[in-house]
Amino acid sequence: MMRSAASTVLLAALLLTSGCEREKREFKSERAESGDRDEVALSSLSPGATPPQVATSGRAATFEGNAYHVAQGKRLFTWFNCNGCHAMGGGDSGPPLMDDKWIYGGTIENIVATIREGRPNGMPSFRGKIPDDQIWEIAAFVRSMGGNLSKNVAPQRNDDLNPFPAENRRPPSPPTTGGQPLPASRGTQ
């Protein structure tokens, strides 16, 4: 009796773990190199009564909801020397990435566009240099720097000493209008 109860509980626990998708590892990119599937606006203004038209591919959820992708993003952030200009998010010759001020938008689509296309005041374009999926992974990690990812997805612990708390313990700082306002239709996310 006891035995069968215990094994039922164990089985149920096993079933629960199989439902856990936060760590699911997707090694194969779903598609080839993209380019511009996401149409993001950098202004909330548009001619006429309607706000700017934006259309997103919906890939955000794949990358922002998956601990493996975000952890890879963290690794790539130093491998591709983003920290050379942005430090670990605190900013250096490039602007800070862990605060809530975004010149070019703080949604993951904006950040992907920033990395891929570059920005005029000194941000290099990584188009064709970093494969698309990795750009998304890095962008998801950049979002976690400001505490904007769910706590169970954001990186939890640094391998080396770190002057500030791990990404999953940072208070959320939702993007606000920094240099430029965000498109109204996306608002703050």
């Binding site: 591709f80 064709g128 240099k129 970093i130």
Partner: protein
């Protein structure tokens, strides 16, 4: 499956892997070609033979005791009877056995200590120092030298001069790995933030396979490497080829391949000395085509396997830190021609 047949089957299944241990001669602690491995192997055979002999003696003594036990009737008749002659004999036998045990244990400990000294005797006598860094899931190898123009970095294939002690310093960039070339020496861990060292001395020329021996993630099984022990002149020739910068591309296709390599992201991860490619994330490719394998022993090196690897590394080694770089067929052919020419 019942009775005898079942037993026979069981014994067969259990002993089958024993046959395998003898097959794989280029990675086996039982096939020693290094000073350290030979010392350990001698000790292993000695310990095993001695223990087997002692085990047999114990079993014989036990069988003897069982055969000489008193019958039930005798025991019921006189349960507490002492037999004086066997008792005296037993005292002598037991004392001798204890004495022998102590002597054998001391002997084995001394032997083990001497083996340890043999392993340590290489220390400080090295003629070559390497720095091996573990990465998920490949090995970076740096040949150090007091002359800066004789140092260089390579990956996944280590050449050493035969008969010379070589010091291998071990570090890790991510998690714990373990450096193990069974035919040459024991294991030593690569620990992040800490430097370990191990000494190799190959007694005979040959190609010895090594393998990461500490589980380090998804592709741990595909994290192997080769140690090639060369005669000294061959080693020096190899070394001067490796020190040189990369061959410039020969032919139209390879030249186009170099342009692809430099413009399509390969160069942010890989170094090809003599070109602007200076990435430090992946293996140094300056002389990649001179190696025997691709991707830490995953594939034997050929133009075809390079093409397969570059076309889709995730299909060959899922989870590896080299991403699939989307290239159209012409770009792929060109870049493969270029990489295959990096002799």
């Amino acid at each position: 499956m019942s009775g005898r047949a079942g037993n026979v089957r069981f014994v067969l299944v259990v002993s089958a892997p024993l046959g395998l241990t003898a097959c794989n001669v280029w990675q086996s602690a039982l096939d020693a070609h290094g000073q350290s491995a030979e010392a350990v192997l001698r000790q292993f055979y000695g310990f095993t033979a001695l223990s087997a002999g002692i085990w047999l003696l114990v079993i014989f003594a036990m069988i003897g005791a069982l055969r000489r036990r008193r019958s039930l009737a005798e025991r019921l008749a006189a349960p507490l009877e002492r037999r004086s002659r066997p008792e005296a004999f037993a005292t002598i036998a037991v004392s001798t056995a204890i004495g022998l045990t102590a002597a054998i244990l001391i002997g084995l400990t001394t032997w083990s200590f001497m083996t340890g000294r043999t392993l340590a005797s290489l220390r400080g006598r090295e003629t070559l120092t390497l720095l091996v860094t573990g990465d998920q899931w490949w090995w970076q190898v740096r040949y150090e030298d007091s002359q800066a123009n004789r140092t260089f970095t390579t990956a996944n294939e280590i050449h050493i001069p035969v008969g010379q002690p070589v010091k291998v310093k071990l570090e890790s960039n991510d998690v714990i790995h373990s450096f193990w070339v069974p035919s040459l020496a024991g294991k030593e861990d690569l620990i992040p933030g800490h430097q370990n060292e191990i000494y190799l001395k190959a007694e005979r020329p040959g190609v010895y396979r090594g393998q990461c021996a500490e589980f380090c993630g998804y592709q741990h099984a595909h994290m192997s490497f080769l140690v090639v022990a060369d005669e000294i002149p061959d080693f020096e020739a190899w070394r001067s080829r490796q020190v040189a910068t990369a061959a410039s591309p020969t032919g139209e296709e390879a030249a186009a391949g170099q342009r692809v390599f430099l413009s399509r992201g390969c160069s942010i991860c890989h170094t090809v000395r003599g070109t602007p490619a200076g990435g430090k994330v992946g293996p140094d490719l300056t002389h990649v085509a001179s190696r025997k394998t691709v991707a830490a022993g995953t594939l034997p090196l050929s133009r075809g396997s390079l093409a397969a690897w570059i076309a889709d590394p995730q299909a060959i080694k899922p989870g590896t830190n080299m991403p699939r770089v989307a290239l159209d067929p012409d770009e792929l052919n060109a870049v493969v021609a270029y990489v295959a020419g990096l002799q």
